[in-house]
Each structure stands twice: as C-alpha cells, then as structure tokens.
C-alpha cells in the first residue's frame, strides 16, 4: 500500500474581516475565532484574533473598516464539522463601557476561490424591560457565555436576539486533497470553460 493517497485534506483560508456597517455605533473592534468539528485541527495560522478599534468613515458610507487579516489552515479527515468563523464586535456605549455590538457566524466557504460574505450581526436581548434598562445603565449588556454559541444550533431556542449590523468578510480558500479523498466541492467543471485547452497530447 505504497503511496495510498493522502489521509487528510487541508483547507487554507486567508482573507480579511473587511468592514462593517453598524449604523448607530462607532469605535468598534471585532474578535474572531473558529469553531470546528472534532475531526478538524488547525495546523497553521491564528485561530483567533482581535482587531484594532476603527472609527466610522467620514463619507456617506459610514463604513467601519478593519481590514483585519485572517490566515488559518486546517486539516481534517471529514468534512463534518466544517469550520465556522465566529465574529463578535464590541464597542463603547454612551458611558464608555465596552459592550458587545454583534455576534455572527458563517461557515468558511466550501469551494476554493475568492468569496465575499456579508454576515448579519445580532446581539442577545435582555429578558425584560427593566433588565434592559439596568443593563444599559450599568453598561453590562447581555452577552453570550461564549461567542462560539452562535455557531451552534443547540440551545438557541432559549435566547432572543436583535439584529444589529453587517460585517463583510473576504475569504480566499485553497483546498488540498479534497478531491483525492472523494469530496468534490469545486465548481462543476473548472476546465474547458476558462479558456481553450490544447488537444490532448498524443504523439504523432
């Protein structure tokens, strides 16, 4: 059984947390981390990161630009538990307390190539009006115990959330050996479409 083929496939993702749109908030920073299944292991790169604080642009777009790079490589034996990126955005409230401005998660793109994702962000809601007031007053908004909660479906039924804004991410995905292991995630056909290919080399 020599050269029996690869036993893992690799998923390399680089890109960046480009920008965000949070119409009412300013001076935000974001954290990201990855949630992945048991068959996955990061082999290189940073698994989590925390960005700089960015302020709104002065133009009409009012974009919050981070351009915060992501670069991570995973290896896996099983596509189950495909990595998800979990984003959480924080910023100061009127009293200057650091509060969470949004959580969001998205799967890393499955197919190789360049992908742009816009992730809607949300925050958990307070359980009551009074609670809301006090949390606002005290600057301790409800938060998830762990931001990774947003990457899972379990237990979400007990929460209520409100949408907050959008974060735009850019991914460049490269996979290795996926096809060799029998997982075809690429576009239906990559050859023959892009350009003319020379006739199959057959000797004359």
């Amino acid at each position: 059984m020599a050269a029996a083929g690869p036993s893992v496939f690799l998923l390399m993702v680089n890109g960046q947390v480009e920008s965000a749109q949070f119409p009412e908030y300013d001076d935000l920073y974001c954290k990201y981390c990855f949630v992945y299944g048991q068959d996955w292991a990061p082999t290189a790169g940073l698994e989590e990161g925390i960005s700089q604080i960015t302020s709104k642009s002065q133009d009409v777009r009012q974009a919050l630009v981070w351009n915060f790079p992501i670069d991570v490589t995973f290896k896996s034996t099983n596509p189950y538990g495909w990595p998800q990126i979990v984003l959480s955005v924080y910023g100061p409230d009127v009293f200057g307390n650091d509060v969470v401005r949004g959580y969001g998660a998205a799967h890393l793109p499955l197919s190789p190539g360049r992908h742009k994702r816009t992730i809607p962000m949300f925050v958990p809601e307070s359980t009551s009006k009074l609670q809301k007031f006090t949390s606002w007053f005290m600057g301790r908004r409800p938060e998830y115990t762990d931001p990774k909660v947003v990457a899972q479906g379990e237990g979400r039924e007990v929460t209520r959330v409100r949408s907050q804004g959008f974060v735009t991410l850019l991914f460049n995905v490269v996979t290795k050996d996926m096809r060799k292991l029998g997982y075809d995630t690429g576009p239906s056909d990559t050859q023959g479409v892009s350009g003319p290919s020379p006739p199959p080399g057959r000797p004359l």
Partner: protein, 1551 residues
Amino acid sequence: MNPKEEKVKIITEEFDENDEDAGVGGQKKTSKMARQKRKKPVCGAGDPEMVSENPHLGNQPEPLQEDSDTRPLSMTTRRGPRSLPPIPSASRTGFAEFSMRERMREKLQAARSKAESTLLQEIPTPRPRRLQSPGEKELETEFGAEPGEEAQKTQQEDDSQSRSRVKFRDSVRKIKTKPPVPPGFPSAEEAYNFFTFNFDPEPEESEEKPKAKNRDGTTQEEEEGEEEEPPVQGIHKTDEQLLISATEAEAFLWGLDHAAADFVAVRPADYESAHVRLQMEKELLFVPSRLAVPTYKKLPENVQPRYLEDEGLYIGTRPDVPRTCQNIMENRLLTQEPGRRWFGDDGRIVALPNPIKPFPSRPPVLTQEQDFRAELETLYKKAVKYVHRSQHMIGSGDSPGNFQLDIDISGLIFTHHPCFSREHVLAAKLAQLYDQYLARHQRNKAKFLTDKLQALRNAVQTGLNPEKTHKSLDTTQKTINEYKSEIRQTRKLRDAEQEKDRMLLKTIIKVWKEMKSLREFQRFTNTPLKLVLRKEKVDQKADEEAYEAEIQAEISELLEEHMEEHEQKMEAYRAAYQQWKAWKKAQRAKKKKKKQAVEEHPEEEMGEPYPEEDPVKPVPPEPTDRALMEHQVRERAARSRRRPGEPLLVPELSLAGSVTPNEQCPRVEVLRREDVKRRSIYLKVIFNDKEVSRTDSRPLGADFRVHFGQIFNLQIFNWPESLTLQVYETVGHSGTTLLAQVFLPIPETTIVTGRAPIEEVEFSSNQHVTLDHEGVGSGMPFSFEADGSNQLILMTSGKVSNSVAWAIGENGIPLIPPLSQQNIGFRSALKRADAISSIGTSGLTDLKKLAKWAAESKLDPNDPNNAPLMQLISVATSGESYVPDFFRLEQLQQEFNFVSDEELNRSKRFRLLCLRSQEVPEFRNYKQIPAYDREIMEKVFQDYEKRLRDRNVIETKDHIDPHRAMVAKYLQQVRESVINRFLIAKHHFLLSDLIVEEEVPSISILGLSLFKLAEQKRPLRPRRKGRKKVAAQNLSDGDIKVLVNIIRAYDIPVRKPTASKFQQPSRSSRTFSEKHAASPTTHSPTHSADYPLSQVLVRPFVEVSFQRTICHTTTAEGPNPSWNEELELPFRAPNGDYSTSSLQSVKDDVFINIFDEVLYDVLEDDRERGSGIHTRIERHWLGCVKIPFSTIYFQAKIDGTFKIDIPPVLLGYSKERSMIIERGFDSVRSLSEGSYITLFITMEPQLVPGESVREKELVARYVSLIPFLPDTVSFAGICDLWSTSDQFLDLLAGDEEEHAVLLCNYFLSLGKKAWLVMGSAIPEGPTAYVLTREQSHYLIWNPCSGHFYGQFDTFCPLKSVGCLIGPDNIWFNIQRHDSPLRINFDVTKPKLWKPFFSRSLLYPGLSSVQPEELIYQRTDKAAAAELQDRIEKILKEKIMDWRPRHLTRWNRYCTSALRHFLPLLERSRGEDVEDDHRGELLKQLGDYRFSGFPLHMPYSELKPLIEAVYSTGVHNIDVPNVEFALAVYIHPYPKNVLSVWIYVASLIRNR
C-alpha cells in the same frame, strides 16, 4: 311621364340626398334587395330604430312608382318618397288593380324586411340573410313573421329598452300579432283609428315635421291601400293578413312620403309653442304611466291574488327588471290589451326565470339556399401571422431567447500531408496504430470475452448439476444449449479479438522497425517518435497452466461440439441410409418387377422413369479425431495467443526522440522543411452553408499539427442544419487552397459547454500534389522500397479536434432551442439505427420500447458498454411492473441512504462516526477520525466491544471478591444509565447557560456596593478575592493548573535515634490511647526531657503528587516546619474533555505526602571528609493528606489545616510533643492528636464549577461521583440520592450521607441521642456528619473515617453546620455563626434553631423509609483469606513493576513478622501497639535500618490499594541493597465488609 312629374322630380332631387342609398336599392329592385338589407345593419348600427327606419320606409313608395309607371327611367331618375303627390296617385287610379297590388306587395315586403332586419340587428350574430325573391314571397313572409313573433315575446320581457323603442316595438308587435286573429280585425280598426287621428292635424304640421308629413303621406297611401284591400283579401288568405299587418306597419312608421309634395309653397316656419306641442303629443302619443298598477286591476274581479311561493311551490327567480319598467309594461298591457292573460295569479307579469331560450328558434335553412348564399357570404377569419420558414427559425413561437452554440476548435493534426516525408508517413501510421492499440487496450475486449466465456462455462457447470437447479429439466437443457451456443460464439469472438490484438502488436513492431531502418537509411530523423516495448514478466508456471487449461477446455468443448455434430450427422446418415436402403429395396423390387415386366413388355424398358436419380449410398460420417483437433486448437492458440511464459509486451510511444537539425540534413529534406514552414492553415466555420467565422491563420508545425485553441460562440437564430469546418491552406504568399471540409455533428441537447468532450473529426482531401522535395505529395504514388515497388498512394488527411456544445446562459439554463423544433424525421431514423445513441435525449421517453428492443436484440447485460442502458431499462421496467402490496413509511429512504446499511456496518470509519455521534463514552471525544478504514486500528473498538460484552459478565479479576464485583458491576450499570440520561439532558439549555446577564440589582446589593465604597483600600488582613471564572469548555491540556500552597505543618513525628537492637526504648507515655477527645490529654513532661538532647530532628518536606506528576517543596527542619511554598501541578482532563460533566467525574486525588529527608553519610573513608561530602538522601514517608480533585473543583479553593494521615505505627519515628516553648499556646491544639498541615489549594484558572440545580444533572453527577465503597474518596455532593441503609449495605457503596445515616441509625438503636449534621467539612465540602450527645458535651463523628471530635476541637474537619436532622424533626441553624466551635447545639432553643415541624406545621408522623431491621450475613473467611493472598501477590508484583531498573528483594523473614503483627493491629484498631510492635521487630531485625508502616483501608477494589501503596513511594528507594517487606491482612466483618491492612517496609542492612 307628365310634366308634373318632371317637376316633382326636380324637387325631390333636394330631398334625395339622404335617401340615396335606399333609393338606389329600391330602384334596383329584387336583386338589389339583398344588398339593401345588407346595408341596413350598417345604417342601423349607428342609430336607434326611428332614424334607421325612416329611410327604408321612405323609399318604399318609390319603387312602387318606378315599378308601376316609371320603370324605364328608374336608372336615371331618383326621387324621394315625397315626390309622389296625392294627385298623381289619384291619376293613377286608372291603373289596373294588379299594379296596385304589386305596389302593396312591395311595400309589405319592404316593411317586413325592415322589421326583420331590426330584429336581426338586435340579435347581433352576423348571419347570412336570405335573399328575397318575388317568387318566394309567401314562404318568406311566413318565415319573416315568426321571428317577429319571437321578437315580440322577447320584447315583452325586455322592458329595460328605451322607451321609444318600446313604443315602436309595441306597434310592431301589434302589427305582427294581429294577423293570426280571426277576421274582425280589431287591430286593423285600431290602426285605422290611429291613422285617422293623425290625419286631422296634418295640414299644420306637415311642413314642420318630416315625421308628420310622412305620416300624412302614409295615410294617403294607406287610404289607397285600403281601397284596394278587400279584393286581395279574398284571393290570398295569408297574403291578405300579411298585407294588412304590413299596411298597419306602414301606417305607423311611414309618414315621410307626401308631406313635401303636399305643400310646396314657401312659408315661414310655423312656430308651435311647447305647450301646444305637448298637448298635441299627448293626444298623439301614448305614454304609459310609471306608477304601480293596483293588483286588483290585473286580476279578474273577485279573485284574490294567489302566491305560489307561499304555497310551497317552486318558482324560479324572475329576471331582474326595474320596478318602473315593470310598471310601465303593466300599464301598457292593461291599456292596450284589456285581457289579463299576461298576468299571473299573483298579479304580476308572467315571466320566465331566464329569458334566453336554450336552443335557437330559427328554423334550419334549406341547403340549396345556403349554397347559393354562401358564395356571396364574406367569411371572417382571424388574421394569421405569416410564419417564415418555421423549420429553420428558432424561437418564433416559444421563448424567443438567443441560442448559442460554442464551437471550440482546439487544433488540427494531419495524418497525411503532401509535405510528409517518408518517415512522417510511417510515423503517422505508427501513431495511428498506437492509438488503435490504446483504444483496444482500454476496451480490453479479449479480457472481457474471456471472462464472459468463463462465466458461461461456470453457468453450464452449475446448470448441469440437477440438484442445484430447481428448474424443470427442460428449461435447464434449453438454457444449457443456449449457453453452449453462446460459448461457441464467444470463443470465436474471443479468438478473433486476441488474434487482432496480437496482429496489431506485431504490426506496430513492424512499422517501428521499418521506421528505424528508414531513419538509418536516410541518416536523419524527422520525427521525435520513439517506441519502447516494455516487457512485463509473467509467472511462467501459472501462465503455462492457465494456457494449458484453456486449451484443454477448448478441446473438450470442441469435442463435445463435434460429437454433437457427429451425432447429428449420424442421424442424418442413418436416415439417409434407411432411405437409400428403402430405395434400394424398391429398386430391387422394381428391377424384379421390371424383369418381369421386361419379359412382358420389353419395349417399356426405355421408359424407365428416373434412371439418374439413383441415391448414392451415404457415407457414414467420420468420428472426430481428438489429436487432430488438439493440433488445430494449439495451432490457433499459437497464432492468436501469447505463448505461455512469454513476457507481455507493452508498447509505449513517446516523443522523446530528437529531430536531426536542419544543417545535418540533405538538401531535399531541408527544402521540405522550408516548404512546411511556409505553409499555414486556417479554418472557416460554416454554419448552415454560411461562413460565420474563421480562425486565425496558423503556421503548420514541423510535426504537422496546428494549434488554434479558439472558441467561437455562435449566436444562432436558425436551427442548425449543418456545421462545417473548411480547412484552408496558405502556401507562402500565394493563394489559399481549400484542403478539405469537415462536417461536425450538431451536438445533442444534453451536451453543454464545459461538459463536451474534445472530439476528433477526420477529414481528407482528394487533391493531387507533387512536390519537388522529400515530401511524398498527396494522391501520388510513392514507395518505401529502393526499387520503387510496393507503391503507396496517400491522400491528404487529418483530424480536427474540436468540441461543439450548447452554451449555458447566465442563469445556468442551456441555450438550446426547444426540442420540438428539431427535425423529427431525422431523429427517428437515427433511433432506429441505434437505440443506445438515442438514449441521450429523446430515447428516454419510450423506455418500454427500449426495453423491448434490448430484449429482442439480446443485449449482453454484462457488457460494460451496455451497463447504463441495462440499468436504465431495469429502472424503467421495475418501476412500472412492480406494485408493492404493502405500505411503507419513508419509502424513499433507500434512495436517500448515504450508503447501504451493510456498508455502514462494515466500514470501521462509519462505525466510529456513528458511535461518536451517539456520544458513546469511549468515542465521545475521539478526534480526527481517519479518512480511510485502513487507518483505523481494530484496537480502537476493543475497549468498547469488551465493555459491551462484559456488560452482563461479572468479572472478578479486579475485585476478587465476587460480591463486590457484582456490586461494582451494578453500580457501573446505574452510572451508565444515568450518564445516558444526563447526556440527553445536557442538550437542553437554560438561558443562563447561554447568556450572561447582570441580575437586576436589589436594594441590598446596591447598599452593599455603596458600603464597599467606604471600605478601606488596603485592609490589614487581606482576604483572597474571587477570581474570574473560566468556562470549562474552551480549555485544553495544559491550560489548567492545580496550585498547592503548603504553608506549615504541626507536630510532625520526629526521628528516634537509631537504637541498638538491645536497647529497649521506653514506652512513650504519649500514646494514641489517650485520644479520647472528651478528656484532654495530659502530657507527661518526662519523656520530653531527652528530646532536646537528641541530635536527630526531622527534616520534613512535602511532596504533592497529582495525576502522577510530582512536585516537592524544599526541606524544612523540625517537627513544626514552615514551608510557605507554592507548588504547581498541571491538570489533564480525561480524554481531553474539559466539559463540566467530564471535570466533575475526575476521580484523581491530590496526594500530599510528608516525607522526612534523611541524610546518610556514605563516605567510608574519614580521610576524604575534608575534600568532599558524600551523602545519600533517603526519604521516609511520614504521612499524607489526600484531597480529591473534585473537592478542589467544586470548592474552587481549599484553605485550612488538615490532619495528616499518619499510620498508627511509624517505625523509627515517634511523636514528640514535648516542646516546652510551644506549650503556651498549645492548649487548644492539644485537644486532638496527630500531625497537621496547613494548605491552600486552588486551581488556576478558576473553573466554573458545574453548579446547576437541575435534577438530572445532579443525579448524573451523583452517580458519577459515587464511590464504590464507603470509605474511599468521598466526593462533594451538592445533592445526592440517598439510599436506605439496607441498600447501602447491599451495595457496599455510598457517600457521606449513607454513612452518616447508617451511623446515626446505629447510634439511635444504641439508645444514644444522635442527629445528622448537615454542613460542610474539609476536605469533603458539603457533607453529613453525626452529632451525638454525651453527658455534658457533644461529639461530632465523621462517618466516613469513623473519627470523632469534640465540639470545641479546633481541628474538627466540620467547619459549618447548616441543619440537624433528628428522628422526628429538622432544625435549621439560625445562629450568627455556623462553626461548630461557636454554636450551641441545644435544639430546644427556638432562637437558635428553627424547627421544620413546628406548631404551625405539625409533625405528621411520617413513617421511615428504612427497613425495620437489617439482616447481616456472615462473611466467608476462606474467601477473605484467599483474597488476602491475592492482594499481597498483586501488590508485590506492582512494586516490582514500579522498580523496573532495580532488583527488588523481598525479606521473607520480615514479611512473616509483619504479617504476624497485622491481626494485632486490627484487633487494637491501630492503637496502642506501636511500641510492642517495634520492640518485637527490632528484636527480630536488629541488623536492619528500616522504615515502614501499615496502611489501613476499607476494601473496595484493588486499584485504590495499589494507588495507596504507590503514593507512599516505598518503591522509590534505590539503595542498592534495599530489601522490602509487604504483608496484607484482611479482616472480614459481617455483610462482606472487609478491612484491609497493608504493611509495607523497606529494610537496609546495617553494616
């Protein structure tokens, strides 16, 4: 015509203008009538009746005139109706009656046709109308009348019409209905009256109103008519009636005629006031009232209205007519028709629910008439768009999308070109052959056929076994025969294939050789082609065997075949022979007869009928010769097959060769090459015979390949009929020549861009080219041989690699014209030719046919080429014919299954994935399941499978004692089931699990925080502050550390001077026997006196071991050392699972061992002492404190002073408590005995303990924490299941509560006052203790250790008391403090203890859940003894294992001595034996320095024992000559409770 008439004519000219149409119509008489009528609707359409009617009516008189007297002029003179003066009419009286009648008839007809036309107008269906001819008048009138009546009926109901119309209709109705009435003519009279009325005011109004004039005129006419009438009446009954009605009609409607003629004089217009006019109109016109008619008027007198509806009869809903209209109608009916036949019983107008008749009332028209008129009829046809060559246009009808055909022309290869050199020719041939070879190789038909042959043979074999097949013999025989014939065929095919393969290989080699020789001959190389023959070794022997077997099989088959044939031939022969014989016989007979006959009639001999038909005597067929056949077979095999053992030859063609550069070539060759260079090629794309695009012109390569690589996107509008590529060649700057045309097939609709394979289409040209260089030319003979023989003629030919496909639109829809547009005829022809080729598209539709075709053509189902087809057929046919007679849920499950169940079970990987997703404990945290089965070790499943297998098997290996094993098993099962439930529960979340939210602050919290503001910034006695807790799940190995801060210890035993064997040490007065807490010990200072003198102190250090990681402090000195050191131990969660539940179930303990460091001087030679110190460090175990990890986990920190668990006997050490200095403050401490250590243990980072109040989780936790045996590590339980004492005893497992309850029960049954204390202790955490009341004080019992403490014992592990539970009540501590030191246990004081059952809630007299009595069984002593031996053996083995690099010697003498002591220890419960014991030992082992100690434990299972021995570190001594002793003693108590003593010692012989 008289002058008067002329004059009139002139006048009428003026009037005629508007009547022109009518007038002309009238003049043209009958033939024109049709036209006239046709025109009527046109005029009538615009205007209501009154307007449209007038012209017609008006023109009626004219024809009369023309007809009668001015016929010759009719073409020129056109006069209006008014041109008829009354006088001329009078003058015309001279005319015959006939003419008058004629006129009347004309009028009548006109009137009727008009009436008809108006009716028809209302019925808007444009129907061809009948032409009226005079001859058909009677007939026609009848017809004409009917519609009139119809109309009348309708009109009656149709009240919603305009008034004027109604009025008109009314009169028409009158006219039309009257005729049927018998003579008496009331209607005629009425009409007459009507007209006479009109006549009176005539002179005045004639001028002003054409209407009035008309009327006037009519009247006059009418008068004439009237006069004429009687005779007519008499003649034609029907005619007469009609005439009358006609006249009436005219009378009413016609009135425009004569007015103008009457008063020609020019006068100013008369003015008539509105009032007068109204008056006049009132007289003239009948206006029915709009008011409702009283019912009685409508009903016959004295009749009550009858309402059918009230009587329960059904009456349909009447048509919706406004009330006013109804009233008007009713009024009119009442006035005009006094009879009440129009009124129903209820006094309302009779009405049908639906006025529309269900069928047309018009009678069928005669056919001949129709024919006649149909010719004149204009038919209306809807406009049809002109479809332009619909066959070739796409998208005219359907989606007019743009369709696109992508033509990818990648390149062109010449298989022959005029510029080919000879070598090129050979190379092309070789390449072609090689291609062929590759294709054949890929298909591997020979192999397939061989396999098939094999399969068939097998089938025959099995078929021949009758017992195996259940089919009837017939069918078997039949199938076998079929098989056999198939075998024959297959074999032939196989042989042919093999031969072909071999031939091909040979040819390839031959061509290659030729090429080589050519290259050698011409001394240059033109092509880089290189053929390599790779030999593949074969196993000669096996090969030979297979070869031989094959041949034998073939021979036998052939033999059989021949036998059969022979048999048949024999059969035939026999038959023939018989026949011949018969014939012979007959011949003989004949001959005989003939002879006779000859004798009789000699002349007849000539007439012998068939002399030449003598059948030849048949030759019997020869039997087959086996040897001959074998020879044949072998010969054939040798020809077509590889010889056995001959290596397999695999040709490989490569382009690795090098081409000779130009300068080394002869001139002709250089010329050729230059010629090639000058040539370039381009292609034209011709679509439907039109050039649509062309490729770039590319130079021809030296290898005669042209690469284009261009894609043409044809936006097509027409259906593609032909697609052609034209190959053009340009030589230098001279013109281009068309080399060839390549016809490309139109792609199937399934072929879209991206999926289309590159195809090669061959082309060839018939051009003749001769060249003056090495090029062989085209169409010209040439030869490879020197002598010019073997001439070859090659034509220019080549291949174009291209792909044609339909483009895909932006939304992924292929831009293909709809199928319907395709040429069906062409397709069906194709289909007939090859079913498979048509499957791609439309063939799919008719699967049945396909299946039939497949069955008929005996498609080989095993042929891989047919696989998709067969599958398709099987799917199609099974789907139709198979109707299950059962109902299935999830019937599509099969289709959706990822893999089949078998495969799922077979695959290790899938199994692993399944188990993991089921959260089976062994696999719950399995990471990175390998991608392939082969990478999964079978080992992985071993544990799991073992567990499954052992679920019901009670294993005694670990437990030795069967009862305990059973219990352990049972507990294991309980735990499993609870864990399973817990796993389910774990997936339910509370808000608090997911979201952190600040609690709404209450006033107290706010107050507290305010209070905090006033707090000191730096308090004098700082307290440890709570740290931020970390959620457990996102941790990994190495993140968590256990911090152990060892502060100090008290009363460490001190070394005794190594007394000589003979020195009997004085008995220490401080014995453990005085350990009664109630009586504070009095210390005898006697013994302490010698202590300060002793040099030997103790140098204790602390070693902390956790999860086999060991850390130790520095060495301190003295019995009360102070270390104040922090040790850091890493923590690893089991399986790397840092979830709360997993952490809770960590069973590891933190062992804190106190050792004495003993330094021995090993330096033998005193002289060296100056230069070096050689000491050996030994350590002696003094005692330990054991703290379960779970306690640390739940408590977050452990801070306090612990009693060191010191063995009752510590050889070589004594507890000296004689330090006088300490005595001052020692009074409190001295309340209890033993050594103590102050510790602070915590975890870094602090984990969030799995505190949760949910029951399931707690139950799970409980079970996960439950110790197997009472006195083993007890885990902190926030809430537990309490088992009753009998269960507890049966299980021999439980935690503090069970112990406490049992202990308390025992106390109670002993008659003591006892309570259960719920509180928290160190190190257990929340726990249950037992409180007993002695005469004057209280005792606190630790039920797990069996120790008891006085209430005021500082070192009592119980640190707080929450509540007391007595036999009849529960008391809650409401005192300020909860430390047992500071509280009052008097439960009778309500200020201190709040009872649960009080006056408000009386004790209901609950019965106990505990059984009445406990039954105890005697424990088997033999079993205990056996267990004892086994444990000892195992422990010894373990110690040897732990010392892998050292020799472990066992001192048997010491062991037996120790064994001897152990029962004594048990008897004295570890007290009061030390000195005797030591003395004894010393006596026996005086030569040894030794350290050792007995360990006492309750027995649960082997592992804790091993751990306990390990933790003492006895085995760590690596003194070379160390010896060990180990003894085990088990004392059995009832109910299988076993007390285990282990005595471990290490001995070093004194020198």
